[in-house]
Symmetry: C2
Subunit: 344 residues, 2 copies
DNA sequence: TTGTAGGCGTTATCAA
DNA sequence: TTGATAACGCCTACAA
């Protein structure tokens, strides 16, 4: 037996389809008709067909979510989005691309072909052209986490450069003068900006950057391991390292532990991203915490206002601030130089 | 300007819609028509409307994914599923319910209303009735991670009891006789089975279980903290603790570090789940690793075969095994008793 | 307030 | 092979 349609409901309730449709869309309807329709729906186990509705209304009540991978950060955002958007009747279709251009294309084509109402995506430079194409369509595109420069659309980003600069300045305050940095992919704005923060902190302190201490990775755990390995093997190794994301930090920690080095004692360490466990890895990893809830809230607000039509015409560009969580992994040089600092 | 339809393509190519449709569905078509259609599609930037297609075919090429939350485990599975199912043309709509009955209902209703082709879900006892309802429909339901007893459908589960028993037996081997356990919700099979494993290990070793050492939590970080706090405050505290999942372990670790206790020295610790960082938390957390890839592979295989119609009539019931990763957090009593053991 | 009918973009059927 | 046409389930005028 097939699924009942609005027509079956109408029959069973003894009214016309139009009436049932109006009932489903919360429009005025006679009271006795209402009860009979409700009865019929319950009897038949009727469930509205979203597809058919979408055909007419041109609204699928679906939002796409495209990220490189479902790591702690992206999963956290997803959790919030599912909750807040579901409350407004939207479902979320997820895609991830692992930084592969093919996967990106496929995802965006699938999204477009499914006529999703909007798409939230974490940029990658590979994404640029395709996104432009999307933008010419009528689907709102909201970019977060990683900027796609030159694309004019709503964006919710963190203050990468400022946060990195702040963190590295703190490291300098603590007495470090040779600070290694492990960056992510420099084709993306996130990678660039975080490195830029590192550089500016040095400039501001009148220190020069030793190019040898700049390791360009690509956000992966292995990059962190390799970088740290290289640092440790140097004639004059850095006394502290700044990592541009948490995965690379994990790699770095792994390398340190393989080499019997102790964080906060043999070497200091500060990282972008603050997954829960960084608190628990002795002596506590000093980390830049990205405000996931806040980012998700902005994304939700923007998506909904775009879909309502209540959003302003011009694209919105939001930058949220990060907090530096000072922990034991920043301490080596302080002890060496005898300086003292209070936590923030 | 609206999106071009198959009709526009037909016009532009000078053929009938039926021909275009056949082209789109990889059916035989005259060569010259094929090239003209491809030309037209490129010119117009045509993209097939999945909705309209779904109306006819009764296939949305969409799979639902419903879990309590997007933690490391569920995100890992999701990552694999998105990849493997996307390769076959399926998209994934995600839902999470935070163990709230309302959210579950809403998710399942939304899923049903969207006419998804199948749904993969991590069971909860609250889910039972609703799932039964779903099962009467024609959408395949695949349960993983947490069983929903009494529901006859495809399942992919890990050998919770055996893995827990094995782990706790190891703890006993290492000389522990007072072992605390922090369980998850006992309304679900996962919680029950893991506790059962703990109990059986004791039985097998001829040890009795001190009820005082059984803390019933609900999978959350706070539960782990509270449990450990209670253990530490005891007259005769346990020398080791078995945690039923990683979140509770994190809570427990947090509590230990707050109290200045050292893992593997003051107290031993073994946990279900093996997120990456457990390796890095000194002295390394001994953990039961769930084979995420394997689980995802089974899920994929089952979903696809159900949708193909190539699956057997009876529900499949798959149990995968877990590996115990021995690390430094299991060692206290060994040293105390002078025993030696080799790793597995 | 209600009933009727046309159309959303596809696919499937049938004749040509 | 191809073209024409009737569905698929719903919404929305429009007329009653």
């Amino acid at each position: 037996m097939k699924k009942p349609t609005i027509l079956d409901v109408a029959d069973s309730a003894g009214v016309a389809v139009g009436t049932v449709s109006r009932y489903l869309n919360d429009q005025r309807i006679r009271k006795d008709n209402r009860t009979r329709i409700e009865q019929a729906i319950a009897d038949l186990g009727y469930r509205a067909n979203t597809l058919a509705r979408a055909m007419k209304t041109e609204r699928t009540n679906t939002v796409g979510y495209l990220v490189p991978k479902f790591d702690e950060f992206n999963s956290g955002i997803l959790t919030q989005l599912v909750r807040s958007l579901r409350a407004r009747g939207y479902s979320i279709v997820t895609f991830h691309h692992s930084d592969e251009a093919d996967a990106i294309n496929e995802a965006l084509e699938s999204a477009s072909s499914r006529r999703i109402d909007a798409i939230i995506l974490s940029g990658t430079h590979e994404v640029t052209e395709k996104v432009q194409e999307l933008l010419t369509g009528e689907q709102p595109v909201i970019i977060f986490n990683n900027d796609v420069p030159g694309v004019e659309t709503d964006k919710v980003l963190v203050n990468d450069e400022a946060a990195a600069q702040d963190a590295v300045s703190r490291m300098i305050d603590f007495g470090h003068t040779r600070i290694g940095v492990v960056t992510g992919d420099l084709n993306g704005s996130t990678g660039q900006n975080r490195l830029q923060g590192y550089t500016k902190a040095h400039e501001q302190a009148g220190l020069s950057v030793d190019e040898e201490l700049v390791y360009v990775g690509n956000w992966g755990q292995l990059d962190g391991y390799t970088a740290m390995d290289r640092f440790l093997g140097m004639e004059n190794p850095p006394s502290a390292v700044f990592f541009s994301n948490y995965l690379m930090t994990i790699g770095g920690l792994d390398c340190l532990s393989s080499n019997g080095k102790q964080v906060g004692k043999d070497i200091d360490l500060v990282t972008f991203d603050d997954p829960d466990m960084f608190r628990l890895i002795p002596p506590g990893i000093t980390a830049i915490e990205q405000p996931i809830e806040q980012i998700a809230r902005h994304l939700t607000e923007i998506v909904l206002s775009r879909l309502d039509g209540t959003a302003p015409d011009h694209p919105r560009n939001i930058r949220v601030n990060c907090a530096l969580k000072l922990r034991g992994s920043l301490g080596v040089a302080r002890k060496a130089s005898g300086k003292t600092h209070e936590d923030s």
